[in-house]
């Protein structure tokens, strides 16, 4: 069976045999960096065309269908266009911060990638506080957005950035609480341990109703945290032209655009890891033969399949629900999601202590 783990050990052994350890480590850094950037570029291309196709099909349209077979190269053509465009910096803008902001947003997205397990034994950095690290780093991206909004010297940008700040700060809470409810069950913040604890079934099914409630809250809250519709108040087209990236053009705009999609991928990867077992194949309790058949599908396919399922769910939300108002947005968080997830956390703790889960 093909596995990425053997590939990584092969590369590492070869590097360590041929070069001194310090140089081998340097080479590994370079390989990881190149792979991460390649993943970002591929994800950007795939997710943009996926979004446009999903949107079109949901709205009974055809979607892009001119470039390549069934329009599949549309996002490549868009990328070429964005590269050719001039990256304009407005006269009144704070030039340094204005040019720095897209890179901050992008760097945050890259950093969050580190602890995610893509396949069995295939992750960049296996740290014991993986989930904490992800939730800590992902809230840094609000700084990039605030920076972009403030330095643009534009009222729409500033309003969009401020809204985005309020939104992220409040929705972080329910993301954290719903993540906690799974941590209560696994007793570990290490992403690898969390995946291994779902050997005999995914937490979504093993931990009864509290897990389902926290899954729903997680999905709603991460949709808000990534500034996606129906919570896209920070760039609400009809009110704020394009929100915090109104003044950006060319490749700097593309970086914001890409970071949005990367963030969606990352939160969906976290959701898939916590609730749907990450790269763990679909196992049912002690059905040995069934589990064995499932093991034949490579683990990275399981991971990407689950992640893309969640991404599709979030896209489905976007093209179904109308946008909320600012007060409705904060009402939803503070009056509904937060109290419910607190009660849910208590229920989950009860389940974990009493051992009611499978």
């Amino acid at each position: 069976m093909f596995s990425l783990e053997s590939l990584t050990t092969l590369v590492q052994d070869w590097l360590n045999k041929t070069f001194p350890p310090a140089i081998a480590l340097l080479f590994e850094f370079v390989i990881v960096g190149v792979l991460a950037i390649a993943l970002f570029a591929a994800l950007g291309l795939v997710l943009v065309i996926m979004e446009r196709k999903v949107a079109a099909w949901i709205q009974i349209r055809l979607g892009p269908n001119r470039v390549g077979p069934k329009g599949m190269f549309q996002s490549a053509a868009d990328t070429v266009k964005l590269i050719m465009k001039e990256g304009l910096t407005p006269d009144g803008a704070d030039k340094f911060l204005f040019n720095l902001a897209p890179f901050i947003v992008m760097m945050v997205a890259m950093l969050v990638l580190a602890p995610i397990g893509f396949a069995k034994g295939f992750h960049i950095w296996d740290i014991n506080i993986g989930v904490l690290y992800v939730s800590a780093i992902s809230s840094v991206s609000v700084i990039g957005i605030l920076m972009a909004g403030w330095s643009s010297n534009n009222k729409y940008s500033l309003l969009g950035a401020m809204r985005s700040g309020a939104q992220m700060v409040s929705y972080e809470l329910s993301v954290g609480l719903s993540v906690l409810s799974i941590i209560v069950l696994t007793g570990s913040l290490n992403i690898n341990d969390i995946v291994l604890s779902q050997q005999n079934g995914w937490w979504l099914f093993k931990a009864h109703i509290p897990a389902i409630i926290s899954f729903v809250i997680f999905i709603i809250a991460v949709t808000a945290e990534t500034n996606r519709a129906p919570f896209d108040l920070s760039e609400a087209e009809s009110e704020l032209t394009a929100g915090f990236h109104t003044e950006y053009s060319g490749m700097k705009f593309a970086l914001f655009f890409l970071a949005e999609y990367i963030n969606i991928f990352i939160v969906c990867a976290i959701g898939a890891t916590l609730f749907l077992g990450g790269w763990m194949p679909f196992h049912i309790g002690n059905w040995e033969s069934f589990n064995h058949v499932m093991d034949y599908i490579p683990t990275f396919l399981w991971f990407f399949g689950k992640t893309f399922f969640l991404i599709f769910l979030i896209m489905w939300f976007r093209w179904t629900f109308p946008r909320l108002r600012v007060d409705q947005l904060l009402n939803l968080e503070w009056k509904y999601l937060l109290p419910i997830s607190m009660v849910n956390l208590i229920m989950m703790t009860l389940v974990a202590i009493k051992g009611w889960h499978f």
């Binding site: 099909w57 949901i58 009974i60 349209r61 055809l62 489905w316 179904t320 419910i340």
Partner: protein, 158 residues
């Protein structure tokens, strides 16, 4: 009770969201129902809806007769002066003067296809056609005369 109302509210919200997702999910999985027309490719078998508003035309029957009495209701209804009606006076066999239409001038270049003239017409003389390929090289060609030359008012239309 407060908590019951609260839970009812949450239940209602989740239910209505699921109804919405059910609808869009139905569209997503029923790809055959797509209504997009691949226009330049399917120019021959174009299937336009009946009430598509392309341009204003005046229907003439086989005797070259139309139903326009020249009442100017369409001219008054038009919001941007697209229609101009020039009347003449026919002498009837009894020697009475009778108002009739001479030229129905239609400025296609001004028309926004709102259809108010068609609604205003008391005798259903004009209606909206499905044709929409109006591009011409000379702007003068867009000023049209809708009534055919030598056409007459249909008998019985007042």
């Amino acid at each position: 009770m407060f908590i019951v109302d609260y839970l009812k509210e949450v239940y209602g919200a989740v239910k209505s969201l699921l109804v919405g997702m059910n609808r869009t999910g139905y569209y997503f999985t029923h790809h055959k129902e797509i209504i997009t027309q691949q226009y330049p490719d399917n120019r021959e078998e174009l299937n336009l809806p009946e009430r598509f508003r392309g341009e204003v035309v005046m229907a003439h029957d086989e005797n070259n007769e139309h139903a326009c009495t020249g009442c100017s209701a369409c001219e008054l209804a038009c919001p941007n002066g697209t229609i101009k009606i020039i009347n003449k006076f026919d002498i009837s066999p009894e020697g009475k003067k009778k108002k009739a239409i001479d030229t129905f001038v239609y400025h296609l270049e001004l028309c926004t296809m709102c259809g108010l003239c068609v609604e205003a017409c008391p005798t259903n003389a004009i209606n909206m056609a499905n044709t929409f390929e109006h591009s011409v090289f000379n702007r003068g060609l867009l000023t049209k005369r809708l009534n055919n030359p030598d056409s007459k008012l249909k008998a019985g239309v007042e």
